[in-house]
């Protein structure tokens, strides 16, 4: 994304945070960890805004959630969710979006780099998520994998594929949008 005025990037970052919140609302409860579009929008935030503004976007998303705004999975909020079983995934979004932005932000963005970025990002999300889930619920490794990772792999694969299809088009559309504002 070509550098726009910081004012415009602030609005796009808030927009991506709101998208992540909207993605979290559509939560399909399949176990203690629900299937959400949340991480789909986190990945797209990283790909569109880059590492610095992507970090700011996910940062304010988590801050709003911690402060009580119901923006986490299932339309709920509060510090309790960070302490709860899925808190690891939420914390994992911060390093993940930074890494996705850093890997994918080349002078000329290419789908291969987007794919690698998203795979590494998802790995980090699961790393943080599973370790915290195991710590909190005291499950053994095998059970926490069965509950915290395996049910989501097909869903996440679809999300990564959809992101690869959508992001180049959105990058072009944003580029053609009226670059209004000084």
């Amino acid at each position: 994304m070509k550098p726009l005025s910081p004012f415009k990037m602030m609005i796009y970052a808030s927009l991506c945070a709101a998208l992540t919140a909207a993605g979290a609302l559509i939560a399909i409860p399949v176990g203690p960890v629900p299937i959400v579009l949340q991480n789909f929008f986190v990945m797209i935030t990283g790909l569109l805004l880059g590492s610095r503004w992507g970090l700011a976007s996910v940062g304010i998303y988590l801050l709003a959630g911690v402060m009580g705004f119901p923006v986490f999975a299932g339309g709920t909020g509060g510090i309790g969710r960070i302490m709860g079983p899925t808190g690891g995934y939420l914390i994992g979004y911060l390093p993940a979006v930074w890494l996705i932005g850093w890997i994918s932000h080349r002078p000329k963005p290419a789908p291969l780099f987007d794919l690698i970025a998203m795979l590494c990002g998802s790995l980090i999300i699961y790393l943080f998520g599973l370790s915290w889930l195991k710590l909190i619920t005291g499950m053994n490794l095998w059970k926490s994998l069965a509950v915290g990772m395996i049910p989501f792999l097909p869903g996440d694969a679809v999300k990564i594929a959809a992101a690869l299809a959508v992001v180049p088009i959105v990058r072009r559309t944003i580029g053609e949008l009226p670059p209004t504002g000084h």
Partner: protein, 251 residues
């Protein structure tokens, strides 16, 4: 879809509306941390505080619980997983499902805690306006050196404002696609792709127009601070909450 009340401030003049937002936020954080550390007697005390808050917002109780319907299913799953995975004296000798007494006890307390925390956050959100919360955020983060608290507060306000807009646009885009029989295509990749493309284009276009609207009303990071006045009652309530938490945590 735009009527997502969970997100929005519900105008009213109840005691909870009048409390200074900083006190409200502080007691919210205190209560949440205490709930996580509390045991059954502690949880009982905190539940009484929660029900007191709900009584004050009596006309909105149904709306708050209506918002929590997804979260309830989520809680049930946590209860089942917890009660299965904790070792201990099992409940049903013969069945394959290893329900254990310890598991049920642990699971029910976990759900009780999470329900209390979420109720407190719903009460906080529906009784404080975004500009109040923004002002409290600015005051909390001002001492922190490297965080630009003015920009942070504005970004959170913009985010809260965009959520109902996004939900409404998702609804309208889905309507437009359903009108052209998109439901015959079950492949999730196809559905996500054709929802995301118009959604992103529409949103980034409206974000561009919103930035023009902000600029034409001279938006800058400096603005008149909203006067936050904390009266005697506020400090009384904070003291009450603080003592309640200490009683639970100390012995």
């Amino acid at each position: 879809m735009a009527h997502l009340t969970g997100f929005s401030y519900y105008h009213g003049n109840t005691l909870l509306h009048r409390i200074d937002i900083r006190i409200k936020l502080l007691s919210f954080i205190l209560l949440t941390l205490t709930t996580l550390a509390a045991d059954t007697p502690g949880l009982l005390l905190i539940s009484s505080m929660a029900s007191a808050a709900l009584v004050i917002l009596k006309d909105r109780i149904f709306r708050i619980f209506y918002e929590l319907r997804f979260f309830m299913i989520f809680l049930i799953f946590i209860f089942i997983i917890q009660s299965i995975s904790t070792p201990g004296s099992s409940l049903f000798q013969h069945r394959l499902i290893p329900f254990t007494w310890e598991g049920i006890d642990l699971g029910s307390r976990l759900i009780w805690r999470m329900l209390l925390i979420v109720l407190f956050s719903m009460v906080l959100v529906s009784t404080s306006t975004a500009s109040e919360t923004k002002e409290a955020l600015k005051r909390f983060f001002r001492p922190v050196p490297f965080i630009p608290e003015e920009r942070l507060a504005m970004m959170i306000t913009l985010m809260i404002r965009f959520i109902p807009v996004i939900l409404e646009q998702i609804h309208e885009i889905q309507d437009a696609q359903r009108a052209r029989c998109v439901e015959k295509k079950k492949n999730p990749f196809y559905r996500i792709k054709y929802l995301a493309i118009p959604l992103f284009r529409e949103l980034f276009e409206s974000a561009g127009e919103l930035s023009e609207a902000l600029e034409s009303r001279c938006f800058s990071e400096k603005s008149t601070p909203i006067t936050l006045s904390s009266s005697r009652i506020d400090w009384l309530i904070l003291a009450f909450v603080l003592s309640g938490c200490l009683v639970i945590l100390l012995p």
